[in-house]
Every structure is written in structure tokens, then in C-alpha cells.
Symmetry: C2
Subunit: 376 residues, 2 copies
């Protein structure tokens, strides 16, 4: 089962900014435009279905979709009702995007990177190795990234809106400590998608197990390591008992951005008021999910450490090998896939500028606070 597949990372873009620049640059042309339809047409009674790629046990992610559907209902005075469905009811977890493409549901909550088998460009919206961190991902998405991605998604009949992030995840659970890159060779690791392809270059054997199967697989030696999410979600699986080393960071993405995928014809069939509502509610979901993960992860981390979990940073030599392997893959894909190249080049340029700035105020502030946290 892959319905609770681990999330990797993420990337975000600017339809929002452009939209707002248009909205704020003149005399409210958009507002004038939406005033034309009669009220009954502008906010009609509407029933949609949203299938999630995530089980309710991933309570922050699934909870964000619940909050999204409630917000849309509330703000439309219950005229726009979206029914949330867990995986398996309208579509299997990893077929959520297909269900949107073929219109069997109007929308889904998913991780774009789940669909890398169709095209690796899908991964770029969620997050890829050594890409932007969560806040930079938002900056990129709202500054144009989502427009680039929507050009790509249109061939799948999909219109996407950013709708959440896990933040940078942990690097996973290991039965033995990893000190050198060559110790990755032959390692059986639960890791999927784009990250798995990079790991293969280092000799890792990517394996697929559902969340419920990981514990047993580690215990029996069918797995040597497993990436899941972060302390809040990982704690529930109890992996510390069978794999004591908890490595960080998940270098395979700076965050894992989730999206609402909407059937393109259904999106265009919406009134301007309902399009606006889905957009602002998705943006709210985006900030809310990250905030909820940020609030919960420290509490789970403290419990894990108290239970004896051993925290380990990936050594610089290991990270260097992963960086090299990642860029080999980027270069290979860019050479053969113009759409991938177009989006990845945009992300890489943006990321480099972001970290040029990030290292000043944000990073030096964080550095000093980490050093002095316990002093005050």
C-alpha cells in the first residue's frame, strides 16, 4: 500500500501576486467584472467532492482538508459544499490526480510528487532535493511558480492551488549509524519517488511499505532504514524501538508542499466569487498546516528523545554525496525534458537568491537564538 506514502518536499508560485497586482493597480476592474452576474448566479448552490491522498491518521494533513471544506462552506453561507473523502472512496490515494483529470471528482488534496512516473516535473511543485525551504517555497509559488506549474498541469486537465506544507522533514530512521557515503550502498530504505531515484545513485535500494508495515519490516530486517515525516507523525509508528537512529535533515526537500488539484473545466465553470473563495481558503490552509506542524513537532520531539531516540545529523560527506547525485539527476532530466528544465531552472535561480538573503537576517537571528535559547 502506498496510500500513506511519505511526503518529500515542495515549491510555490505567483498567480496570487499577479492577481493582486492586477487587482490593486487600477480601479478595481476585477471587482467591477464580478458585479455583473446576478446574485443568484454568482453564488449558486453547489456540491463538490474532494478526494484526499492522505489517510485521516495523518491528522494535520487530513485535518487541513477538513478545515478547508468547512471554511468554504462557512464563508459561502453553506451554498458551496465540498464533501471530503478519504482514500479509497472515490479514488485510491495515488490515483487522486487521475480522478481530477477525468472529472470523476471535482478536486483532490494531494502531493504533486506522487505522480513523477507520469513526468518528473510533477515533483517540482512539492519539493525536491536541496530545493527551497518552506517559506521560500511560498515565496516562489506566489511570485509565479504556481503559474509555471499550472501551464504544465493544464495538459492533465488540472488547475492547482498551494494548500499546505509539512516544513523540512526528518531524514528518517536507521538501524545503524551512517558515517560515510559508502555505508548507503546496499541499504534497503523505505523512500519513494524523486528522492528514491537520487538514493539509487548512491546504491540504496528503495522499498515501498505502508506506514503500518514499516515497524515490522525494520524489525525483521526487510528494511535497514525508513523515511516517514517528522516527529508528530513519526511518533505514532514507534520506530525508535527497532531503529534507534533518527537522522536529520530530509535533504530530499526543504519542505513538502501539498496542493489542491481542481479539474480545469470545473475551475473555469466557477463564478468569480467561488474562484476567489477557493483561492483564499487554499492559501489559509497553506499557512495553517505549516503552523500546526510547527506547533506539534517540538512536543513530539521531546517525547521521542525522552524515550531514548538518538538524534544524528547526516555527516557533511554524506550530504555532499547526495548533493552530487541530485544534481546529476537534475542535469539528466533537464537534458531530455524541456518542461522540467524550465521549471527547475526557475526554482534554482530563485533558491540561490533566497539563500543569499536568508543567510543575513533570518539565519543569523536563528543562529543566535539557538545558541542562547536556554540562557534566558
Amino acid at each position: 500500500m502506498a496510500d500513506d506514502d511519505v511526503l518529500p518536499c515542495s515549491v510555490v508560485g505567483d498567480h496570487q501576486m499577479r492577481r493582486r497586482e492586477i487587482l490593486t493597480s487600477g480601479l478595481g476592474l476585477a471587482a467591477t467584472a464580478v458585479a455583473k452576474p446576478a446574485i443568484a448566479q454568482s453564488m449558486p448552490d453547489l456540491r463538490w467532492r474532494l478526494t484526499s491522498s492522505f489517510p485521516p491518521s495523518l491528522d494535520v494533513i487530513y485535518g487541513a482538508a477538513e478545515a478547508f471544506t468547512k471554511a468554504v462552506a462557512e464563508a459561502s453561507d453553506n451554498k458551496f459544499q465540498i464533501q471530503l473523502l478519504p482514500p479509497g472512496e472515490a479514488a485510491e490515494a495515488l490515483q487522486a490526480a487521475d480522478a481530477v483529470t477525468n472529472g470523476s471528482v471535482e478536486m483532490c488534496q494531494t502531493a504533486s510528487y506522487y505522480y513523477v512516473a507520469k513526468d518528473p516535473t510533477f515533483a517540482l511543485a512539492t519539493g525536491v532535493p536541496f530545493g527551497p525551504n518552506s517559506r521560500m517555497q511560498n515565496a516562489w509559488m506566489y511570485a509565479g511558480g504556481i503559474d509555471l506549474m499550472n501551464e504544465f498541469y493544464s495538459q492533465y486537465n488540472i488547475y492547482a492551488l498551494p494548500a499546505g506544507n509539512t516544513g523540512c522533514q526528518m531524514g528518517g530512521w536507521f538501524r545503524k549509524e551512517i558515517k560515510y557515503p559508502n555505508e548507503l550502498n546496499g541499504l534497503k530504505m523505505r523512500i519513494g519517488g524523486f528522492a528514491g531515484r537520487v538514493m539509487q545513485k548512491l546504491g540504496v535500494v528503495p522499498c515501498q511499505f505502508s506506514g503500518a508495515e514499516i515497524y515490522s519490516a525494520l524489525e525483521k530486517g526487510m528494511l535497514d532504514a525508513a523515511a516517514w515525516v517528522s516527529p508528530h507523525d513519526d511518533e505514532k509508528l514507534g520506530l525508535g524501538k527497532v531503529s534507534p537512529y533518527y537522522f536529520f535533515p530530509a535533504w530530499w526537500s526543504g519542505g513538502a508542499m501539498l496542493h489542491n488539484f481542481i479539474n480545469l473545466e470545473k475551475w473555469h465553470s466557477l463564478t468569480p466569487a467561488y474562484q476567489a473563495l477557493l483561492r483564499i481558503a487554499s492559501d489559509q490552509t497553506n499557512v495553517w498546516m505549516q503552523s500546526k506542524y510547527d506547533a506539534e513537532n517540538p512536543l513530539a520531539l521531546k517525547r521521542l528523545v525522552n524515550a531514548g531516540v538518538r538524534l544524528k545529523p547526516f555527516p557533511p560527506l554524506v550530504l555532499d554525496a547526495c548533493l552530487k547525485a541530485s544534481f546529476e539527476l537534475y542535469n539528466q532530466l533537464s537534458a531530455t525534458n524541456p518542461e522540467f528544465k524550465k521549471v527547475w531552472d526557475a526554482i534554482l535561480t530563485f533558491r540561490n537568491d533566497q539563500y543569499l538573503w536568508w543567510q543575513l537576517a533570518e539565519y543569523s537571528y536563528d543562529t543566535y537564538l539557538i545558541q542562547t535559547r536556554t540562557r534566558s
Copy 2:
């Protein structure tokens, strides 16, 4: 003039989470509740006014308020119209909260820390020295911080919603390099509010000048240093020509959170649908403003560096002296102001847990990316 006073820092909280927990924990009781009023009552034609504390020249902040009012209009099919007013039309910049308290406007966009003269507790919603960073601020606010603040604000007839952040700012422009804490003694610096009170403990003479006056004051020696915002806003003032040292970080806050303040009776007079709409549109504004600053700041930074500005980190000894002075002030205020103590204790506990977790995945990811940024 203080209408373009520099913003300090920020803190955020959880009415959102509680609201969502309620919404998602049962059978949609809230949705049932909002269904009762007739449609005409639930989304009535409504005209409000929103006065901003910020001039349109602070284009990201003012632009966020423009986007907010447009989003509310769009999503309500133009039934809920909020007129945005710059400082001076309905209220002066630093009287925006008073205008909300007395009901002469329904709401305002402001920085809570502007009102520290009423009570230092106001500062805690925007950001204070060595407080949480921008993402942690969101986490704290949506996990309960905004509820704590709204208990406090209620005595001013105000209901607040988080509505933006600048992120961690730069530490300001200095005519001479600062290497030791004693060099702060006697320094005439444009810095206000809570940060100014900490600076006074180190011998700094806080001075007030408007943005338009800073250049001339530095040139004439009436100022030795000036804090403004970050590269995107600072570049417009051209301060590098008269004060070549651009220090970082603004240790006086991890970010500067802006809020929408709403008159409490006006808030309660809203239908549930309109309350939901203001809430989700404020949350959207929150993520949008941070993203826009993040997208713009690197571009301005590159131009500033190319123009010869000298970037300097505050030395550890200086930061240590500022940390000590800040906590002296916290302890003084906590001893005499129970409301301040209650909120500050909550923030400090939350901040410490946040950095315990932040130092693992997020920080080590950022560290490696900063080190290798130019390698790929």
C-alpha cells in the same frame, strides 16, 4: 511624523486552530449554526472602512491591505465592500487603533507594538527582542496566541486577526562600525517603541524621524544610526550614501507581524459567513505579505551590495549585551504587569520549544544550503 515608523517584530496565535478543531471534531455544528439565518441576512450588503497605519510607499504592506479588501469583495460577490484609507484620512497612522476602539472606523491595518505607551503587552503581538521568528510566530498565534491577545485587546474594544509579516528585518544603518557594546553608548539612533526601551539600557538615545527625514538627519549628524525595515523598503531611502554599514539582524524581533484590528461590536454584529470571510482573508494576507517580502528582498539586497553597502553582523558581544538588557526589561515588566507576564511567559515557553526543534531539520537544512548554494 511617525506614520511610517519602523516595524519591529512579531508573535501569532490559535483561535484558528481551536476554531478548526471544533469544526472538524464533530458533525459540522458550526455549519449547521450558520445555516439558520435567511440568505439575505447571512450575506447582506455591507460597507466598512479600514484605515491603515502605513503609507502607500510601503508598497508590500499597503498592497497587502489592498489585496485583502479586494479578496473580501470578490469572494462575497461585492456584497461586503471595505474601503481602504491611507493614514490621515480617517485617522492618523498611530491613532488607527483608537479609531477602531471608538468605532469611527470598523477596522484598521496596524502594528500592535505602536501602542506600547498604552500598555507594553501590545508589543507582544507584533514581535519583541529575541522572540519567535516569523514562522514560529504564526505557529504560536494559530495555536492560541491570538486568543490570549484578544483577551487583552477586549478592554480596548478590539478583536484582532493576524494579517502579515515582514520576516526578520535588518538591524539598520550605521555611520560607523559597531564592534563593542560600549560603542552604543550615546549613539543617536532612529528606533522606537519596545526596542528603543531596550536600547536605552545600553546608552542609546532613541530618536524619532519619519522615513523621509532619515537621510538628511544621518547626513547632518543628527542621527548616528537608523533602523527602517529590510532591503526592499530600505533601498528606496538611499541611506547607504550617508551610513555605509548595514547591520544584521534586527535582534529586536524575529519578525514584525501586522494585524487587522476590528471594532469588537462590529465584529460581533457580523454574520458567521462574514466573520469566516474576514478570518480566511486575513490569513491569506498573512502568508501573502511574508511571501512578497521574501520574493523582493533578495533583489533589493543585490542592488544595495552592488552600490557599495557594507553588510555587517552585530558582533556576539553586542548581541549578548542586548539579550541581557532585553531580559532585564522583560523581568521588570513582568513584575508589575500581570497581563504582560501571562502572554510573555507563554511566548517564551513556546519559543524555547520551537528552537529545540528548529535546530534539527530546518536549521541544518538551511545551513547546508547556505554553504553549498553557489556549488550547484
